[in-house]
Every structure is written in C-alpha cells, then in structure tokens.
C-alpha cells in the first residue's frame, strides 16, 4: 500500500487529519503526521518530513499531503534528502489537505498505485460543500 504523510504547519492539524483519515484506512495502512517544528512551534521541518516519509514507505511509495506555502518547499527539500531509491517513489499531492488525505487513504487502502492515489487526492478538490 502507498504510504501517506500529512504535513501541516501545526502538529495538531497534522495529527488530527491522520486520526480522521485513519478511520477510512485498511489495517496496515500507514498514515504519518509531520506537523510543526521539531521544538513544537508552528512551521514545517524538512527533517521531520523526511523521517515521516521513510516511516510511511512500505515499498509502494509515499504520497505527501501539505497545507500551505512553505509546507510545499519543506516537503520538496525532504524528498531531495531521501535516498535515490525512495526519492523516485514519493509525490506531493496537489490537493486540499483534509479531503485529499481522506480520498488518498481510501485509494491507497484498496491497493492502488502511487500515480492513482495522487490523482484521487488531486480530484478531491472537486468535492463541493453544496
């Protein structure tokens, strides 16, 4: 299964999304939070994201959901720091973080490949409230 990493400036947001998305997950699905700075402050930390990606990888690659602004840059930096073998099997989702994480987890849990999980997450943008 494709692993999922949730990156937010807030550790609580990242953990909350993982908790929520975990409700939709099959057993064994990895959903790892990488929120906040290492000292607990608001921000994003490339080293924390890198560790989360490594933890989330079960062999089928990892999709990274991000919130805003520098979360994207930190996630890109984290991917750059990965080993060559894993680097090519990690993608950043162009998706809303909550809806995208939930949709991605469902798709990953049914064994879809990374390209499909990423497309599903991006498609979550079309989910309307009304």
């Amino acid at each position: 299964m494709v692993g999922i990493v949730v990156v937010s400036h807030s550790a609580k947001i990242a953990e909350g999304i993982c908790e929520l998305a975990g409700q939709m997950a099959a057993p064994g699905q990895k959903i790892i939070a990488a929120g906040g700075m290492s000292g607990g402050g608001i921000g994003t930390d490339a080293f924390k994201i890198q560790a989360a990606i490594e933890e989330a990888n079960a062999g089928d690659g990892v999709l990274v959901l991000v919130d805003l602004g520098s979360a994207v840059m930190s996630a890109e930096l984290a991917i750059d720091m990965l080993g060559d073998e894993l680097k090519d099997r990690v993608a950043i989702a162009d998706a809303p973080i909550v809806e995208g994480a939930i949709a991605a987890v469902v798709d990953a849990s049914i064994g879809q490949p990374l390209v499909s999980v990423a497309a599903t997450a991006a498609g979550a943008r079309e989910l309307r409230k009304k």
Binding site: Q23, M24, S109, A124
Partner: protein
Amino acid sequence: MTKIELVLTNAAGLHARPAAQFVQKASAYTSKVTLAAGTKTADAKSILAIMGLGLGQGSKIELTADGPDEAACLDGLKALVESNFGEG
C-alpha cells in the same frame, strides 16, 4: 450483469467513513460496479465519485455489477449496507 436495489438506512448515509467502507468492499471484487441514485451514477470503486453523490439516510440506490464475481460482490455490498455499516 446483476442489479439490486437498496435503501440506505444508516444515519450518516454514504458519507466519509461509510463511503470509504463501501468503496473498499466494492474494490475487493473484480466485477465492475456502478451505483445509481436518481439520475446520477457513480463508479462504486471511486471514493470521489461516491462521496460526490452526497447520499443521505433514506436514499434509494441501485447497484449494478458486471463480471465473474458479480453475485458475490452484490451480496457483500448488500450485507454492508444492511448492517448499517456497523454504526451503533
């Protein structure tokens, strides 16, 4: 091709967690499964399509399965819906 009609009796309808359970169940079979509600249809293996329908409690759905395990597939989905998705 096999077809059944069901009514969603669980409180949440096909939102979030039940939608995820539904898609995961449908995906466990090789048959193509389509859900129709009113004038809309959705691929039962697509979480976005199912969540996008926004079906609530009391919604009537028609499930069509086409493939080698279509009967088992519809039995499985029927059992899931009729169990109210394990809601209390």
